[in-house]
């Protein structure tokens, strides 16, 4: 029965397209990875060749480990990304719940105001933000970055999540109210699990830009103790000489945590589709 509807040619074409896309998307990553294990000469002689016994070298990684506080940068990036994501998801979901669940004066206006942030890039406000951080004494703290990234991520998070929360059955929430659950329990136990796929989407969309950002770390937290990985890697890129081994090794290392976070969220994405509450 399935065969009748599935034209094998279509299936082949779809797979070919997907494979091509995967290859294109993975190509730069693979090039970075294989070259990070090669000597500098080998990198430039044959950038696409796999490391051989001859060209294999860990010099890049050794430089990275020796240079500065690479692990500290790593840790900083991790803290900033994870805490920002947690804030975006928590506050975004709470705001979305309020907007979608409660009738109050100015509800629509508030939604519009929050959505405005989607269209205005936060970097436009850099000078004002820097000024604010200087006055509050938050310059060169991770908190500065976390606050900025949270603000940056919230509009889209609220927008996406409130759309999803509107679809959660009213009856389910009302059943909870009749059983005496507080609004917080209803939010955390009944509604959040049902919008988990949307939460994962928001997390994945926000994660990469935060992890990769160079702009705000450079401006708000350039101090040695608060450098993020992206900023820390810049020491290997000089105006005249660039230590390519080190740059590639640093980049390879930087991919790992993002990969891990992504795997966590994407599993939620798939598993989170709980059904059966309502017909």
């Amino acid at each position: 029965m399935h065969k009748a509807r599935h034209n094998p040619l279509n299936s082949i074409a779809a797979h070919a397209a997907l494979l091509t896309w995967t290859a294109i998307a993975l190509f730069p990553v693979v090039v970075i990875l294989i070259n990070s294990f090669k000597t500098r000469k080998a990198i430039f002689r044959e950038p696409l060749a796999l490391p051989s016994a001859d060209s294999f070298s860990l010099v890049g990684y050794q430089t990275v480990m020796r240079q500065g506080d690479f692990f500290l940068y790593f840790q900083n990036s991790m803290i900033v990304t994870v805490v920002s994501l947690a804030f975006i998801l928590l506050f975004g979901a709470m705001a979305a719940f309020a907007l979608s669940e409660y009738r109050f004066r100015g509800n629509a206006l508030m939604g519009l105001y929050l959505a405005l942030g989607i269209m205005i890039p936060i970097r436009i406000g850099t000078v004002a933000i820097l000024d604010l951080m200087v006055q509050t004494g938050l310059v060169n703290t991770l908190m500065a970055l976390i606050l900025v990234y949270t603000a940056q991520g919230l509009p889209l998070a609220v927008f996406i999540l409130s759309e999803f929360m509107r679809q959660v059955s009213d009856d389910l929430k009302n059943a909870g109210r009749i059983d005496g659950l507080s609004e917080y329990r209803i939010f955390f136990r009944l509604v959040l699990p049902l919008v988990r796929p949307a939460m994962a989407t928001v997390a994945v969309f926000n994660m990469i830009p935060i992890w990769n950002d160079l702009w705000f770390p450079l401006i708000l937290a350039p101090g040695e103790a608060t450098k993020t990985l992206t900023l820390g890697s810049q020491v290997f890129i000089g105006q005249f000489v660039t230590d390519w081994n080190a740059v590639l090794s640093a980049l390879s290392l930087a991919i790992l945590p993002v990969l891990i976070l992504y795997v966590i969220f994407s599993r939620q994405l798939i598993r989170g589709i709980t059904s059966g509450a309502v017909k």
């Binding site: 059955s169 389910l172 059943a175 009749i178 709980t274 017909k279």
Partner: protein
């Protein structure tokens, strides 16, 4: 004592006035059914009683207690929803236990009540299953079980059977009637299914546009409706409304139930059969009169009428109802 008393209840959403001057008294152990066309405010009224919506005016009293400002969990009610609304992350037992745990009941009491409810509803084999692993009918039984374990003074049902198929609906209907007898609690039930309303209710409340049109026992409403709306709303096939003048009856409109019409050789009504419905037990004829009115005739048993034939009809004058131009009943 009254189980539920509504005094002049009002509800508006912004400018939309949904419930207007609702006054109702429900006795203990009574089974009350709200019926009315879609959008007339049945669910809204039920939600006001439950406390899920605040009344814009008036008072709600449950078991003699003014609960107008009381949160839903403290009103001594349980509610069963059309969409079941089971907690997807809890198994059947957890679903039934949640409300009691929130109320701080002892473990032993909770276990006992769940056991009783489960045996009443034959849910024992499913106690450890999640809602996703149950059929529609089983889910609705769990939802009813969740309502029972709380031992409420008042049960609220919002179209609980409308997601079930016909056979299951009948079985569950019988089950709800049995539960009502066994539990002896007051039940308020919203439906737009005629059969459910007629078979379950001690009294039916007919609503239209947010107002109560009439309250009474099913047979009272059927035999003695206060107006044309109620007369037309109850009964299936519904009542025929014909111009009263030509039939020599008082008032503007004459209402005749389809079963009070009969096929005769000579009669006051004539027409052509435009459609025949054979249901086995009954035969329904749709007859078009020369004035282009359609008259439904309900004959008991099986009859051999053919489409397109001209027939004459007579009716039981004693049981026909007269209405004035505004649809109000004219009593002799």
């Amino acid at each position: 004592m009254t189980a539920l008393k509504l005094e002049n209840v009002q509800k508006s959403f912004g400018d939309i006035h949904v419930l207007k001057d609702i006054d109702l008294e429900v006795a203990e152990r009574e089974f009350i059914v709200f019926v009315g066309p879609s959008g007339c405010g049945k669910s809204t009224l039920l939600r006001v009683i439950a406390g899920l919506e605040d009344a814009s005016g008036g008072r709600v009293m449950i078991g003699g207690r003014d609960v107008t400002r009381t949160p839903p969990a403290k009103r001594g009610i349980s509610m069963v929803f059309q969409s079941y609304a089971l907690y997807p992350h809890l198994d059947v037992e957890g679903n039934m236990a949640l409300g009691l745990r929130q109320a701080g009941e002892e473990r032993k009491v909770i276990a006992e009540r769940i056991a009783t409810a489960a045996s009443m509803l034959s849910l024992e084999p499913y106690l450890k299953r999640r809602p996703a692993e149950l059929s529609g009918g089983q889910r609705q039984r769990v939802a009813i079980g969740r309502a029972i374990v709380r031992k409420p003074d008042l049960f609220l049902f919002d179209e609980p059977l409308s997601n079930l198929d016909a056979a299951l609906r009948m079985a569950t209907r019988v089950e709800i009637a049995r539960l009502h007898r066994e539990l002896g609690a007051c039940m308020v039930y919203v439906t737009h299914d005629q059969t459910e309303a007629m078979t379950l209710a001690d009294r039916i409340v007919v609503l239209r546009d947010g107002r109560i049109e009439q309250v009474g026992s099913p047979m009272e409403l059927y035999n003695d409706p206060a107006n044309q709306f109620v007369a037309g709303f109850l009964g299936s096939p519904s009542m025929n409304f014909l111009a009263a003048g030509p039939l020599g009856a008082p008032g503007e409109v004459l209402g005749i139930r389809p079963e009070h019409l009969g096929v005769v050789a000579q009669g006051p009504l004539r027409g052509r059969i435009s459609h025949v419905e054979r249901l086995g037990g009954d035969t329904n004829l749709l007859v078009t009169t020369p004035q282009d009115e359609t008259v439904t005739v309900r004959l008991f048993g099986q009859h051999d009428h053919r489409m397109g034939t001209e027939i004459a009809l007579d009716f039981d004058r004693a049981r026909a109802l007269s209405f004035d131009a505004a649809g109000k009943r004219l009593r002799p």
